[in-house]
Symmetry: C2
């Protein structure tokens, strides 16, 4: 007899996608379990780069501080190309991050285990531990239409196997789950069990990677450096402490077994990888490293899963959905952002706040992103792996060509440019009300001052991932007329037919909606108490578009966002920090439709309670 | 039979002065114990203001992050004066912090218990706990000259009494200490045991203070606000969460017992204090507060101890040395900075690195500061407690007069202006080499970029309170000539006669000295590997005076400090973050005298080992 248990969400795989989801759900108070077949978490190597957008996301969960404390920062990017004497020479330096709205103008590198530890510690504080080593051996989804449509049922049956059982009885466990997430990597068991295909192909590019503490006189060893040499290409990624990662391109003969045609890791060693890098770095020296932390070799595959879910009950995320080259540092970021996108939607459906249709937006938003990622990766990998242009090879990749591509893709590699297309939760109709706050992109960082105490605050810090929609009321100047208009608007929003009341599940509007008011005006001269009580649930919630007392931070947000201070404009920010829609106060009734398309009205919601 | 034990440093009193010292010594690995007569730490109220300089000091111990997370910030200061209708009206807003070099342009308010907890947790991580409730009942200092001059002896005998003994045997303990610190408050038992007098007098100003969550329509309730009204004076200090502290001036009849002439707390109540504030705030409203966290009344005393130590073996610090009014928020700051000044000196002497004469600089530096504080406090308290100037009272204090004083004292109240006068550890001889880095003041904050990876760093973060002297070599541009000069300088410093070798106790120069090199030049264009190895013990130690990759931070430090990039200039920063001296490289041999005046040479030091 196996153990049988129920859980709302079962997550398979405790890599970046899995732990992001488990932590987000744990913080939201959702009943969640997470298993992993590895007996312990990753100790070294693997993915290691966090893009500026992912740092913003971690900050929204309160986890960025530790990441920043422990990680290395990459601010500068250096380029080297073939020089006169057969060696390489520096052809330029640019900022590592070119997206101008990045809150964090750098990438962070830190080994995957340290990043996972940040999430595991946070999950633990919310009562969730990774169960390991455990793996699924069977997965069945109910065919019963009623069961599938009922939120009180557990239509997914997963059989788990403990890999270190103390006795035969404790070996298997049957879990009945409402939802299952397969975040179990490129060779995903869940994906295969669902019969989901990967679309795309393997490339011919073979790369080696080694993490070490180098002895070298290469002056850019602590910068992200792209090297095109006549001896091959190399990417240098400085890491925490004195560690440096070298990605080096390998030739087939280095690593392919001529009999099988497959990569044979035994043909390689970290010493051989270092010697390849040494040739590329010439005339700079690279000594033998005493500390080699991790190494591997791989062939780049560029594939996307044909589907991200089955019956809106089982989902896949992360490497289970998409594989690509690691050199643009996107792997872990794409994975974490997949489940950052999914987690709040699961929470909404599980609480009966939202219809299951909301879950469809997960694939809509993230599969499109993955496809764009693969397209980008193809271009980038071709440029990167291509021969450099020299006198002898005029068809090669020129430095200018590479640099242009590098900068063009800046919005993409930083994660800042991610743009979700229209759907139930992205309505760009009134984009003209704030031309530079792009609907479907993440809310841009901006410093305001709190009207009550003139303390500078970053707007993103008022948009935590607390599964609430943030309603940012840009109210302009607090003139008498404006205050009258605000009182009228408050009255409108307090009506039972308003989305504000209609979609507040327990009658408490602050459960789903968080109101923030942003006035225009001078800090020494604006009385925040003029803002009607409806728009200031707490004194910390009224902001002013002005500089701080030093004059060094904040100000000019209305102009920057393209918002007219003579109007009242409402910016709706989704729980994941993306701008959902923007509405002029005159059209506020349209929000009843926006929220109505995926939220469940109050009285109706009660019937779905579990 | 009492227990008898030995300890290097015994600290009496776990208030701000005591815990700052205990934590600093614990972090330095010094054998320290700390006792307090209170059974538990302060739960609410008491001191609550941290000046910008004290925040910098906490940051140097790695403790500012938590303080900033938990505390309230005061950025703006508001002034109210009698208006036309007998009520008050706003006469202006200014920045709360006017000292332009403040790294933190705000004060932090947080109740004393929360601040103490930061230190207590840090001490605990270093193995030191506050022992309570315990108090000293006897203190004897040896009269034996040999014992007093030997570092291996324990010439101070203190008898401690446990206030909650489980049995008679565990009630008393005799401690033989090398050094004792009395940080036991205004009524210091240690000070009295030493027979040290307090000089100065009691004022006639009686004040009440109440911490509460107010119901009010006063628009500056979240700003530090000074109110002069015809009904008396009031200072508003916003606190963590929704708490606000009100300081209100009381009249004799409110609180003085006519029979004894002494303050009688039973004549007052928080409700009465609130009703005094209510009159002052008119025409603004102040409702009954449901949450009153703490309250008290007091008469301001303005006194300084005649001496800060006896035989360089027993010291007093904090309120035991100086009492003054709390309205400029200096109490806790003065106390913490007393022992921040003392702790590293005790560590140097205990390790045999320094002669006991170094300890004399504690009284020299901190007593002078306390006297200045009292002088400031007298002026400030008079202005603050004085009647406002009105048509009827032309001799009253005008708003302009008060404002002028407020701004004049900005350097003082922020703690930024603290300036230690010449002594063994402050040598201003070559001030002209860096006119704007004032010798005797704290090293000013400045952003540089790390030459190796262009990461912006705050120089203060490279000056932790790790009891090392920081040697900042401003080397200018890395021209060929300069590199030659640097190699010559390195050779000079490596000589056995150089302070660098002579005063490195275990032959390891990085035990006492930390080398940081700051070059001038462009970040895309400077090879930090040109800096001779002597001046870059690690790649993180070479900085560049340039902006970061965003162009928003850093740069222009040579010009700002008044340092000539055509010279090599060495700035010596003391372990407590104050500039000890500045030397042009041509006069580097003078540092042998500077350090020789208080450090113990290598071979000699060994004889003093304990």
């Amino acid at each position: 007899m196996s153990l049988e248990n129920r859980v709302d969400v079962l997550i398979v795989g405790a890599g970046p996608a899995g732990i992001m989801c488990a932590n987000a759900l744990a913080m939201a108070g959702v009943d969640v379990r997470i298993i992993d077949k590895r007996p312990v978490k990753v100790a070294a190597g693997q993915a290691d780069g966090m893009s500026p957008r992912t740092i913003e996301v971690l900050q929204s969960y309160g986890l960025a501080e530790r990441l920043i404390r422990e990680g290395n920062q990459m601010h500068m990017c250096a380029f080297y190309n073939p020089g006169r004497d057969g060696g390489i020479e520096c052809t330029g330096h640019i900022p590592d991050i070119t997206a101008s709205t990045s809150r964090y103008p750098f990438q962070i590198t830190l080994h995957q285990g340290a990043i996972e530890a940040i999430f595991i510690d946070s999950m633990r504080a919310h009562g969730v531990e990774v169960e390991r080593p455990k793996q699924p051996v069977d997965l069945e989804i109910s065919e019963d239409v009623d069961e599938l449509s009922s939120l009180s049922s557990y239509p997914v049956k997963v059989t788990l196997e403990r890999l270190d059982p103390v006795c035969e009885e404790s070996k298997t466990e049957i879990i009945h789950a409402k939802f299952v997430l397969g975040a179990d990597g490129a060779h995903s068991w869940v994906r295969k069990a669902l019969g989901i295909e990967m679309e795309g192909e393997q490339t011919d590019y073979i790369w080696g990677v080694v993490d070490m503490v180098p002895e070298t006189n290469f002056p850019d060893i602590r910068n992200r450096t792209a090297i095109h040499s006549e001896n091959g290409s190399c990417m240098i990624i400085p890491r925490e402490g004195d560690l440096v990662r070298f990605y080096t391109q390998l030739s087939d003969t280095d690593v392919i077994d001529p009999l099988t045609g497959r990569v044979d890791k035994s043909k390689m060693s970290p010493q051989k990888l270092i010697s390849v890098s040494r040739k590329i770095l010439h005339p700079f020296e690279l000594g033998e490293s005493k500390e080699i932390e991790w190494w591997t070799i791989y062939i780049i595959g560029q594939r996307v899963a044909s589907s991200y879910s089955v019956k809106n009950r089982v989902f896949i995320a992360g490497d289970a959905c998409h594989t690509h080259s690691p050199k643009a540092g996107q792997g872990m970021n794409a994975s974490m952002n997949d489940t950052h996108n999914l987690a709040w939607k699961l929470a909404y459906v599980l609480r009966g706040w939202s219809s299951p249709s909301l879950l469809k937006t997960y694939e809509h938003e993230r599969r499109k992103y993955a496809q764009d990622l693969i397209d980008f990766d193809k271009k980038f990998a071709t440029l990167f792996s291509g021969k450099p242009r020299t006198a002898e090879n005029e068809d090669g990749v020129s430095h200018d060509e590479f640099l242009r591509a590098f900068q063009t893709f800046g919005g993409f590699t930083s994660g800042i440019g991610v743009h979700y297309s229209p759907s139930a939760i992205v309505d760009p109709k009134h984009q003209q009300c704030a031309e530079n706050l792009i609907i479907g992109q993440r809310m841009v960082p901006q410093i305001f001052v709190r009207a009550a105490d003139c303390r500078p605050v970053e707007i993103q810090d008022l948009l935590p991932a607390d599964i609430r929609f943030k309603l940012l009321f840009f109210v302009g100047h607090l003139t008498e007329t404006r205050v009258t208009e605000l009182n009228a608007l408050a009255e409108e929003l307090r009506k039972p037919s308003s989305f504000f009341v209609r979609y507040s599940p327990d009658g408490n509007v602050s459960t789903v909606f968080d109101v923030i008011t942003i006035a225009a005006g001078d800090k020494g001269d604006t009385n925040y108490l003029l803002v009607p009580a409806f728009f200031r649930p707490h004194w910390t919630k009224v902001l002013l578009d002005d500089t701080d007392m030093t004059g060094r931070q904040g100000g000019r947000a209305y102009a920057r966002f393209g918002i007219d201070p003579e109007q009242i404009t409402l910016v709706v920010v989704r729980p994941d920090g993306y701008v959902g829609t923007i509405i002029p106060s005159i059209a506020v009734a349209e929000l009843d439709n926006y929220f109505g398309s995926f939220l469940t009205p109050r009285s109706f919601g009660a019937q779905f309670g579990t």
